[in-house]
């Protein structure tokens, strides 16, 4: 068989790839609660949860996420994150959570520190949609919680 035009794969790919450590988190306000969707590389997530919890089931996952992704309302009261489900999409795992937040996201304090115990070049991107606006926050190792405007 001809070299399967796998050649094309290199063309589409060649000078692009570098090892990057990142997660992406979307927050959307839905009436009195917030929906949170985290996208993380499955390899990294699995490693992080296993190191933190010594197991990788859903309970371990949610404990890990609660320990590393923290959300507090505008008055500073911590908000409990509840796991809705997980889905694997290719080599990415999507983790969906929900949190009660009657006061909405404006003024809420958040910190996204997933995988930072593993990688000192971790950058977590967080995007929040609320009240007709969109805002982005970036978290790197050592960052404290920040308020959404």
């Amino acid at each position: 068989m001809t070299p399967l035009l796998l050649a094309t794969a290199s063309l589409l790919l060649a000078p692009q790839r570098h090892p990057l450590h990142t997660t992406h988190t979307d927050l959307r306000q839905r009436s009195g609660e917030v929906e949170i969707v985290i996208r993380a590389f499955t390899d990294d997530l699995h490693r992080a949860v296993a190191a933190h919890e010594r197991s990788t089931d859903d309970s371990a996952l949610v404990r890990y996420v609660r320990a590393t992704l923290t959300l507090a309302d505008a008055a500073g009261r911590p908000v409990l994150l509840t796991l809705v489900g997980t889905r694997i999409d290719g080599d990415i795992t999507l983790v969906t959570l929900r949190a009660p937040l009657p006061g909405g996201l404006a003024g809420a304090r958040i910190r996204q520190a997933m995988h930072m115990e593993l990688f000192d070049d971790q950058v977590n991107v967080l995007r929040a949609e609320y009240g007709g606006r969109q805002t982005s926050l970036l978290f790197t190792p050592g960052d404290a919680a920040r308020s959404l405007p």
């Binding site: 001809t2 399967l4 094309t8 290199s10 090892p19 950058v123 982005s136």
Partner: protein
């Protein structure tokens, strides 16, 4: 048996879409990703069942590489490399597919020297396989071995319009100062593929991206915008097309749309270059807190690069006076194996930013040796000449940069104009 290259492209992409239109509905992207993932599951199961399946391993490796392009996953690239190596261990002869996967995965990790050795072996396996030769030429270009690349590409010239060769041939033309010819070649390929059967939208969108990039680099923003728009009609959330559109808006000074597009790109895929663009964008828009946040995140993201060194990231850090000595060391190490024009340009610029202009000058000359039509190369050479007090050479280089593209960079083009205005004899 020689199989139609077009068919092979489709096969390699693992899609079963049957859209003929240039602008298929976005659903096809989701479909092709879903089908690709089904293909991956299918081949993973086959590989698990058959410890000796060399071809299945090569195919699965190719699918992982394809997925890596959209997700940016390094894990998929490493998996592809491992599968290709296992495949070759199982069957070394008549296993060009596995060698191709291995070469591609090595290139993705910037292990160009290893890739070059293998590409030579692959081309030697079958002297009639022009795609393999073009792949060798592609790796030679990355290493700055232009004589070898010229030899390889002149040998495949008669087949240069075939889908396996045209993108690589066009890259050679582009790097050697014939970007107009390169763009026309890719446009022709795009038109051929667009009327083909079962051509995945990713292939067409990638061609639109390349055509747009060439047009943008050569001062044709309208044409670039059109190409990017066509690409985005195929893949509305493609992060590379969104980022390219953002850069185009930025060079036109339209920073609000640039930031919006870059944010959309970042939502799809994390790329430090997008962080860099956002840092600049927020700074121009006066949001210094956001600008600092993005610049810092970019610096953190690229602080460890065990298997790669991205020149664009290095240029951003150098231009912002961040980690200059570190970037100089990395550029020097990079140039030890990759003596291509962009490697020379980066090393020259790093030396300039470190205040070592006399050492930078030879690299600026090397960067222009292939007559590559890229305004940034001429700008860097001009600023180095200016720092050395050679105002005649500086004037010539800076004018050339602006002739190639009056908006070759959102900031450097204005700096070039200001520098030209300050030269002796400049109109007041």
């Amino acid at each position: 048996m020689r199989i139609s290259l077009l068919f092979l492209i489709t096969l390699a992409s693992g899609t079963a879409g049957c859209q003929r239109n240039v602008e298929p509905p976005p659903q096809h992207t989701a479909d092709s990703h879903r089908i690709r993932d089904l293909d991956i599951s299918f081949y993973e199961a086959r590989v698990a069942r058959d410890p000796y399946g060399a071809r299945d391993r090569a195919t699965l490796g190719a699918l992982y590489l394809q997925r890596a392009r959209s997700s940016g996953s390094e894990g998929d690239i490493f998996r592809a490399e491992a599968l290709a190596r296992t495949s070759l261990h199982t069957r070394h002869k008549r296993n060009g597919s596995a060698i191709s996967v291995l070469i591609s995965s090595l290139m993705a990790q910037h292990r160009f020297v290893e890739a070059h050795t293998l590409a030579g072996e692959l081309a030697a396996l079958d002297s009639t396989d022009l795609g393999a030769r073009a792949m060798l030429g592609e790796v030679a270009l990355e290493l700055g071995r232009y004589d070898e690349a010229a030899h390889v590409f002149s040998n495949v010239a008669l087949s240069r319009t075939s889908p396996a060769i045209a993108p690589r041939y066009a890259r050679w033309l582009e790097l050697t100062g014939r970007s107009g010819e390169a763009r026309l070649m890719l446009e022709s390929l795009r038109d051929t593929l667009a009327s083909g059967f079962r051509v995945p939208p990713e292939q067409l969108a990638w061609l639109e991206l390349r055509i747009g990039e060439m047009a943008a680099k050569n001062g044709r923003p309208g044409l670039a915008r059109k190409s990017y728009s066509r690409g985005l009609a195929l893949l509305p959330d493609d992060p590379q097309l969104l980022a390219a559109s953002a850069r185009l808006s930025a060079t036109a000074g339209a920073w609000r749309p640039a930031v919006a597009l870059a944010e959309r790109s970042l939502a799809e895929r994390f790329d430090p270059m997008t962080l860099a663009l956002l840092a600049d964008g927020y700074a121009v828009l006066g949001d210094t807190a956001q600008a600092a946040q993005y610049a810092h995140a970019m610096e953190v993201a690229v602080s460890r690069l065990p298997s790669g060194f991205h020149r664009g990231w290095a240029l951003f850090l150098l231009d912002h006076g961040r980690r200059v000595n570190d970037m100089l060391a990395r550029a020097t190490a990079d140039y030890a194996t990759r003596t291509d024009v962009y490697g020379a340009d980066l090393l020259g610029w790093a030396l300039h930013r470190a205040g070592r202009d006399r050492a930078a000058a030879p690299y600026a000359i090397s960067a222009l040796a292939q007559h590559t039509r890229d305004g940034l190369l001429y700008y860097h050479a001009g600023m180095i000449a200016l720092a050395l007090g050679d105002t005649t050479l500086a004037g010539a280089r800076l004018r050339e940069a602006l002739d190639i593209n009056p908006r070759f960079d959102p900031f450097a083009a204005d700096t070039a104009r200001a520098a030209l205005a300050g030269l002796p004899g400049a109109p007041r």
